[in-house]
């Protein structure tokens, strides 16, 4: 199981604390985009957008790649991995809980079966 340090989480939260940056993530969730396109979309300067993207990049939420003169941004691996790791751990905990619920359910079934046998036995004797 992959483990994540608090530093990573802090960086993610800091990155997510800004409305524009959350908007950028949403936007990139739909499609990759260049810094210029993002700057236009969010009505800010290219320099301003570069800063926001830099913060997201540092937190591992976004990756960028320069092709020619255009820097393209896309969602980074961290967020999804972290969520997947959490969900897996959550699943394991429920699985552990349910395995014990299986035992309780089995006991109840057996009890019911015995009661039924007793009743049937009585009926037969009658």
């Amino acid at each position: 199981m992959v483990q994540y340090s608090r530093t990573h989480l802090d960086a993610s939260f800091a990155a997510l604390s800004d409305t524009t940056r959350r908007g950028v993530l949403e936007q990139l969730g739909r499609a990759d985009a260049s810094i210029t396109a993002l700057a236009q979309k969010f009505e800010m300067t290219i320099t301003g957008m570069k800063k926001h993207v830099g913060v997201l990049e540092q937190a591992g939420l976004v990756t960028t790649k320069k092709v020619g003169r255009v820097r393209t941004c896309k969602l980074g691996p961290r967020r999804l991995e972290e969520e997947a790791a959490w969900l897996e751990r959550y699943r394991q905990l429920w699985a552990a809980r349910f395995d014990e619920l299986d035992d309780v359910v089995e006991q109840l079934k057996q009890k019911e079966l015995k009661q039924k046998e007793t009743v049937d036995g009585r009926k037969k004797r009658e």
Partner: protein, 168 residues
């Protein structure tokens, strides 16, 4: 109907599935080899509930468990582990329909806690159990997911923390 022999080898455990169904929804699914009325009983009778709700592997224990399982009733669970503070979870049963459905609120975090719906789908000799958590917002679920990511694996209340943010 033929009764199962005691000597029958342990069956395979049924698989537990977890899925983030949408930005605000988390869904857990699991099949049980018993009719719904039995699974429902194990879920709603406190003395039975206590036997399975806190897995032995997590090291914590259920110190207190009050459950008034009926529409409008309340619940309160208190957990403890040797090395950690006690944790308390509470809320209200919004809807209880034996043996098919339980809906409760998770109020320990204040307003806007997730609402949990458990459905017991009776399939005769089996029950498909579906736990559906509906969070107030995408942000609320994202934060719940993030708070579950802690450094070590097998610590007790950290696990519970993640797990119990939506209860019984």
């Amino acid at each position: 109907m033929d009764a199962r022999k005691e000597s029958e080898p342990a069956r395979m455990k049924n698989r537990t599935n977890v899925e983030r169904k949408s930005e605000r929804e988390l869904v857990v699914t699991r099949t049980f080899n018993a009719p719904a009325r039995i699974v429902f009983e194990a879920w709603t009778r406190p003395e039975l509930f206590k036997q399975w709700w806190v897995p032995k592997s997590c090291g914590a224990s259920l110190l207190d468990c009050e459950m008034d399982v009926r529409t409008g009733g309340k619940y309160r669970l208190v957990f403890g582990a040797p090395t950690s503070q006690q944790m308390e979870f509470f809320g209200r049963y919004v809807e209880v329909v034996p043996p098919t459905r339980i809906v409760w609120t998770n109020d320990e975090g204040g307003e806007g806690g997730a609402v949990t719906t458990v459905t017991f789908e009776d399939k005769g000799e089996q029950t498909v159990l579906i736990i559906h958590d509906l969070y107030a917002s995408k942000k609320a679920l994202d934060e719940a997911l993030a708070s579950g990511s802690t450094d070590g694996m097998p610590e007790t209340l950290d696990q519970l923390d993640a797990l119990l943010t939506r209860k019984p």
